[in-house]
Every structure is written in C-alpha cells, then in structure tokens.
C-alpha cells in the first residue's frame, strides 16, 4: 500500500478530491493508481484490505480523462469499453464483498459493496433493479456490524427499487425480505420480522420449490424468532423442517457420490460428470454451518433432549463435513450418530450412515 499526501493547491483547477469511502475532503491518495483519494489513512487501509488491492490498477483507465478520439466510431468504441470495464469491476467488487460476507467479515465487506454499488449506478443508472443486490450486501454488512439505522436505510432503498421495477426475480425479493426480517429481529419487532420472513419463504418457494435449501434460511430465522417468543412447539417444528431440508439435500449428494463410487466404470467414461468440487457453493456452506450448529446447540441444551432429532442432526452434519472434505470431523460425527441411533433407532438413518461411512473411507486423504 502506497500513501501519498496531496496538496489541494496542486490539483488541477476546479477539481475537488473526496474520500472514496466517506466523501469527506481528501488528504491522501493511493500511490499505486494515483486516482483514488481518501480522507485519512484509516479509510485507505480499510479500502485496501477490502478490495482496492485487487482493483487498484484497473481504476486508472476509468478515472483518467478519456483520450482524444478523432472519429465518432472510436469515441463510441471508447464509451463501450468504459462501460464494459465498469461492468467487470462491478462484478469483481460484488464477488469480493459477497465472499467477505460469507466469511463473516462484515467490516471488510462494506467498501467492496460500496464500490459495487457505485459501479452499478454508473452502468445502470439510479433506478434499476440491478442495484438491489449491492444494497442488500450493504444492509447485511451493516446488520452484522449492528448499525441498524444504516441497514434500514439501505433496505428501504432496496425495497423501493424492487417496488418500482416490479419485475424483480423472486430470489432477490426473498433475499430482501430475509434481510428486512433480520433487521426487525435485531430491532426486537418480532411481528414485523415474522411478516418479512414469511414473505422470504414464500418468494424462495416460488423460485426454488418448498423443499429447497434456499428456503431453509427463512425457516431457520423464523424458528429463532418463535424460540425467542417462547413458542417452543412452533420453533421445534420449524427446526425439524430445516434439518430435514438439509438432510435430504445432503443425502441426495451423498447418494450420487456413493453411486459413482460403486460403479467406477461410469466415471471413466464420463469424467467431467464428477462434480464433487462444487456440490456446495460458499453461501450454502456458510448457511449450513451456521444453521445446523445453532440447531444442534439448541437441541442439546433443551431440558428434554430428543435423541432421534439430535441423531438426524448429527448425521446431517457428518454428511456436510464429508461433502466439504473435512474427513476426520465427518468420521467423528458419524461415530457419534451411530452411538445415538443405538439409543433410539431412527428410520432410514442407519442406511444413510452406512453409505456415508463407506464414502468417507474411500477418500484417499482419509486419516485414521
């Protein structure tokens, strides 16, 4: 990271420099690109850690004046090039922010999300539904940091965009309502949050079907609300639903892998079919760990632990760890499940477990 102090008088006339993050008058600038200004080193540091390191050089062509073109054709080409660069940057920054969010680094996600928003505005204009994901990321990060009013503002923006465009995909609407729901949970307004989470589940069901993992998040947060409202029967039923959704999802994946393991000839014929690498994307991984562990905690701390439900849960976790190649952990959990179903047998679980253990043992980097 290179920092250069700037002297305002040395800047070209009429050009004011503002901080990249907070829009305050700038005092420093990045020495790498020379086109990004900050109010303090702190902000520069934050931006650098978040996303600037990746896009530093890419910003130069966007922020310097366009070269002089001598024909309309070239000018047009130049404009198009600029837009495609901005689009690319919007995507890069979006992915970076998303990654930070999955990792739970909310602070680092904010600058990247802001950049994403900025690029999207400059590509699509202020009134477009493409801004919604960026708003949502900002809101999520703010929620994570506990800045409720900030989050509310972003969510209101997002909601307004969704309302105005009215052709938003259900997936996006689902995400919007989930964040709204979480916001109201944080504010302690349970009724409102239930309303939004219900919307979330509805939209997610429209987009993916009622048994998809995308719906499980809504159920989980709703269950948490009911849990905090002390409506244990509802919460319990919903936690079971979440577990079942994940259980079935993982079971399908495990079964696929098991099948390809049992019939290796097919793998040789269709090697590209083997999709072990990307069966679970990052967001699903993050969601699964968060939800399943939270439910397990709740279940184990309940006054009357229900062994059968814990067994299913542990088995689900074991499958999860197997799918993300955390074999020792998967093996340990599988053992635990075995122990639990000896106490109280659960229908169908033994079969799944059997397949899982075989699969774990087949992995080459399995350490005993």
């Amino acid at each position: 990271m290179q920092t250069e102090r700037i002297v305002h008088l040395a800047l070209p006339r009429g050009r004011k420099a503002f901080c990249e993050l907070c829009l305050a008058p700038a005092t420093v600038r990045c020495g790498g690109c020379g086109v990004t200004f900050y109010c303090e080193v702190e902000h520069q540091n934050a931006d650098w850690v978040s996303v600037h390191e990746k896009i530093c050089q890419l910003l130069i062509p966007l922020r310097t004046a366009l070269p002089f073109y001598d024909s309309e054709k070239k000018r047009k080409h130049g404009r198009e090039q600029k837009i495609s660069r901005e689009k690319f940057l919007a995507e890069v920054t979006h992915n970076t922010a998303q990654k930070f969010l999955y990792e739970g680094k909310h602070e680092d996600a904010i600058p990247a999300a802001l950049h994403s928003l900025k690029f999207n505005i400059s590509v699509h204009g202020l009134n477009s539904s493409e801004l919604v994901p960026a708003y949502l990321m900002l809101a999520e990060a703010s929620l994570g940091l506990g800045h409720l009013s900030q989050a509310e503002e972003y969510l209101s923006q997002a909601r307004w965009s969704v309302l105005k465009t009215s052709q938003c995909s259900p997936a996006i609407e689902s995400k919007l309502h989930r964040n709204l729901g979480l916001l109201y949970v944080a504010k302690g307004n349970f009724e409102e949050s239930l309303y939004h989470l219900a919307n979330d589940i509805y939209f997610a069901s429209c987009a993916f079907g009622t048994n998809d993992v995308a719906v499980s998040g809504g159920y989980f947060h709703m269950a948490n609300v009911f849990f905090r409202q002390n409506r244990m029967d509802v919460a319990d039923s919903m936690y079971t639903e979440v577990t079942e959704i994940w259980y079935n999802h993982f079971k399908r994946l495990i079964d696929q892998q098991y099948q390809s393991l049992m019939s290796p000839s097919e793998i040789n014929m269709l090697p590209e079919e083997e999709t072990t690498g990307d069966v679970l994307d990052e967001s699903q991984q993050a969601e699964a760990t968060q939800m399943l562990n939270a439910i397990l905690d709740i279940r184990e701390q309940a006054s009357k632990p229900k062994v059968d439900k814990i067994a299913t849960l542990v088995c689900t976790l074991a499958m999860f760890h197997c799918l993300i190649f955390d074999m020792p952990k998967a093996h340990e959990l599988a053992k635990k499940t075995l122990h639990l179903i000896k106490l109280e047998p659960v229908e169908g679980l033994e079969d799944t477990l059997h397949r899982l253990v075989k699969l774990i043992k087949s992995k080459p980097f399995y350490v005993k």
Binding site: Y195, L197, A198, Y202, M222, S237, M238
Partner: protein, 468 residues
C-alpha cells in the same frame, strides 16, 4: 357385456351438512371482504391513516400470497408447504394435459378465494392439532377438508385429503382403531370410484377386520361392521363381474361365494338374494347348470320371503334360461308363463317385454309360429307402453320375424300346390299385403288386422333374419 346385473358403484358420500363446514371467517377476513374497486376506495378513504405497509402490500398481492404469508407468520409452515405443493401439482397437471382438455378450462385454486379460505382454516387447525399430538382432531380437520371438496372437479383434492386422513388415522391409537377403520372405508370408496377394485377390496377387508366384533355405529345408526360387509359384498360382486368378463369362471364363483357369506353376515336378505342370483348366473355361465338351478331356487325362495316380485320374475327368467340350455324346454315354458303372470300382475312392463320375447323365441324355434307371433305381438304392445324407442324397434323386428315365419308356411303350401286356386290366393295376398292368406273372395270386407306399424328399417331387416 357384463353377465351379472349391474351393481351401482359407490363413491364417498356427500357430507350431510356441507354448508356448515364452511370455515368461520378468520381475523384477516376483512382483507377479502373488500372486493370491488369502489369498496376499496371507500375503505381507503375511511382508514387511510391506519394503512400500514403490510396492509398496502396485502392489496397489491394475490390472494394466494396473502394466505400463504398469513399461515407462515403464525408458524404453520407445513400447511403452507402443503397448500403450495397442491397448487403446483394442479398447475403441473394442467400443463401436462395441455389446452383443450377439461382441466384447462377449470379455475385454478389460486382464483377461488373460498376454497383457499377453507384450506387455510382446516390445514392450520390440523397442524395445530398435530403439534400438540391431538391426532384425532387432526383427522377430523382433514376429513372436513375432504368433505369440503365434493364437486367433480375437486375430486383430486378430496382423494388427496382422504389419503391424508388415512395416514393420520394410523397414528390414532386410543380409540381402538375406529378412525382407522373409517379411513379404510373412505379409501376403499375412493379406490372403488377410480375403478381400482382390487385395492378397494383390500381396504374394505381391513375395514372389516377392524370392525368385526365391535358395536360402533355410524350416524345413521347402522353398525360399522354391517357397513363393511355391505361394501365387501358390493366390491366382490363387481370383481366377480370383471372376472366373468375375462372368462375366469372358477375365480368368479369363489369371489361370489365370499360375497354371499358377507351378505349373510350383514344379515341383509336383499343382498343375500342378490348374491345368490349372481352365483346362479355365474354357475350357469361356467356350465354347471345343476348348481345354478340350486342357487336360483334359493334366490326364488328368498325373493318370495321378501315379497320382491321383480326378484321372483328374474328368478323364473333365469331358471328358464338355464333349463333351455339344458334342453328342458317344456319346463322352461312353465316357468316363463309364471314369470309372465307375475309381470302382468305387478305391472313390470320391462319384465313383461322380456318374458314375451323369450317365450316367443322359444315357440319360434320350435316351429309354433302362430304362438310365437302372438307373444311377439304382446311384447310389442308392452314396449309401446314403455315408449322406449330402442326396445320398440327390437320388438318390431321380432314381430316381423314371427309374422314372416307364420306366413311362410301358408305361402309355401300354396306355391307347392301350384294350382289355379293357389295362384289366386297368392295374387290376392300380394294385392293386399295382408298378414293372412285369406280367402280372396272375402278379402275386401275383412280389412287389415291391426298390423303394427313396421318402420322401413325393420322391414329391411326382415329378410336377412329370415334367411339366417
């Protein structure tokens, strides 16, 4: 063609008070009380200050969405998933059958707020009961839903909920299996309606085993066990009918014997008689005439006890048929005459037509054409009374056959004689087209005997039949 007499297929009966099953309007009902635009405007004007974002959204959203969200807010996620899947399922069905099919023109569930209301109310009540493990209440709610959807276009829904009831009923343990038995009975009726007789029989058998030795009664005061016997009797008869159509005589007889036993156990003489009759027919078609006569006689006795003249008539007719196939025509004729008498006495015109035609046929085959003619005439008159056009046409043809046969003898004799008188007779007949070869010198006065008005198609058929 089926050999056994038609048995009415039963389907799950309509609930006695469908109107009352309508759900009471829940708290959110006011959302859909306002349907017209004017009403909305008035409502907005009155309550504009109190209109929150949620309420505004409720107007903007579809009714289905409002219902779904309402369910979810209260934590009824299973009801939501069920409703959602049902709607999806219907849409998929509709897509699959494509435009032009019956289902294509029907309204989707989404567009029928009353049905959605009912689903919402009962599904959530069922789920609440399930959560607190009151399976009986859950069963009752699901049953109400099944009763709600009784129209023919909602069959799939009704069947779905009967199935759900059946699943729930298996969880109910405290009532000794009564609910389970009822659920079996309902499932049996559903299967019967869909024509899956074997499956229906299985359900009815389960129903029977669960109710045997119990004194449970239904709302009309009949014991469930009798009901089971009745269902079993009916389904066995239906099954036997199918088997007879496939020429599986022995199996059909076995099934019918089971039906007979069920009828006996239900202590229902009507059913017993019917079963005996069917058995008789089955034995007859299997070629075991002696046993058939035995069974038909039993049927005759039972009908006499019951005072069922139609039954007695049918017994005579069937007996006559068996006797004819045994070659004992005289005895058959006596039975048929009895049948005829009964039919006349109690004004069973249909049976009268049958009996006359049958008798006419027998005489026709034996060469007693004038008698045959007489009976066919009677049949025709009776059919005219009924005003049943196909039957009238049929008897017309029989009349034609009888008359033609009757004439044939005389015409043949005159042609065979080949003398002058004969020719005069024939010519006179040709002029008159009278149905008798009468004396040509009296023809002018005698006039035509009431000749039935034979339509052209019947005339055309005549020669064909004569040749055959």
């Amino acid at each position: 063609m089926s050999i056994l007499p038609p048995v009415q297929i039963q389907c799950p009966k309509e609930h006695p008070d469908t109107e009352e099953v309508r759900c009471p309007s829940p708290a959110f009902a006011r959302m859909h009380l306002i349907k017209g635009k004017d009403a909305i405007d008035r409502y907005l004007a009155m309550h504009i200050k109190g209109l929150s974002k949620q309420e505004a959204a409720a107007y903007r959203n579809s009714y289905k969405k409002n219902i779904c969200i309402d369910m979810l807010r209260q934590g009824y996620h299973k009801s939501f998933a069920e409703l959602f899947t049902l709607i999806e399922k219907w849409n998929a069905l509709r897509e699959a059958s494509g435009p032009g099919s019956a289902i294509w023109l029907q309204k989707s569930l989404e567009e029928q707020p009353e049905k959605l209301d009912q689903l919402h109310f009962f599904l959530t009540s069922a789920e609440a009961a399930q959560r607190s493990e009151y399976y009986e209440e859950m069963y009752l709610n699901q049953l109400s839903l099944a009763y709600c959807f009784n129209k023919s276009e909602d069959r799939w829904l009704r069947n779905y909920f009967y199935e759900q009831c059946y699943k729930t009923a298996q969880l109910i343990k405290i009532d000794g299996g009564r609910k389970e038995a009822e659920a079996h009975s309902n499932m049996g009726l559903v299967c019967e309606e869909q024509g899956q007789f074997l499956k229906a029989a299985e359900h009815y058998e389960a129903f029977y085993h669960l109710t045997v030795g119990r004194i449970w009664k239904d709302e009309t005061g009949r014991t469930l066990n009798t009901l089971a016997c009745e269902h079993l009797w009916r389904i066995y008869t239906l099954l036997a009918d199918k088997m007879l159509q496939n020429k599986e005589h022995q199996q059909a007889i076995k099934t019918l014997i089971k039906a007979f036993e069920m009828a006996k156990e239900a202590d229902n003489k009507n059913m017993e008689a019917e079963a005996a009759f069917c058995l008789g027919l089955a034995y007859h078609s299997a070629g075991e005439e002696d046993t058939a006569i035995l069974k038909l006689n039993a049927f005759l006795e039972l009908s006499k006890i019951l005072g069922d003249y139609g039954g007695i008539g049918r017994a005579y007719e069937a007996l006559a048929q068996v006797l004819v196939s045994l070659g004992e025509v005289d005895e058959a004729i006596t039975y048929l005459e009895k049948f005829l008498n009964i039919a006349r006495k109690v004004q069973l015109t249909h049976n009268l037509v049958d009996a006359c035609t049958f008798l006419g046929n027998i005489y026709n085959e034996r060469g007693n054409y004038s008698k045959a003619c007489e009976y066919f005439d009677q049949a025709f008159c009776a059919a005219n009374v009924l005003a049943d056009l196909p039957l009238v046409n049929e008897t017309k043809v029989y009349c034609g056959i009888g008359k033609a046969h009757n004439m044939m003898v005389k015409v043949n004799s005159h042609t065979g004689a080949a003398d002058h008188v004969g020719i005069i007779y024939l010519l006179a007949w040709k002029e008159n087209r009278n149905d008798m070869c009468t004396d040509p010198f009296t023809v002018g006065q005698s006039g035509t005997v009431a000749l039935p008005d034979i339509s052209t198609d019947a005339k055309e058929e005549e020669p064909v039949i004569q040749i055959s």
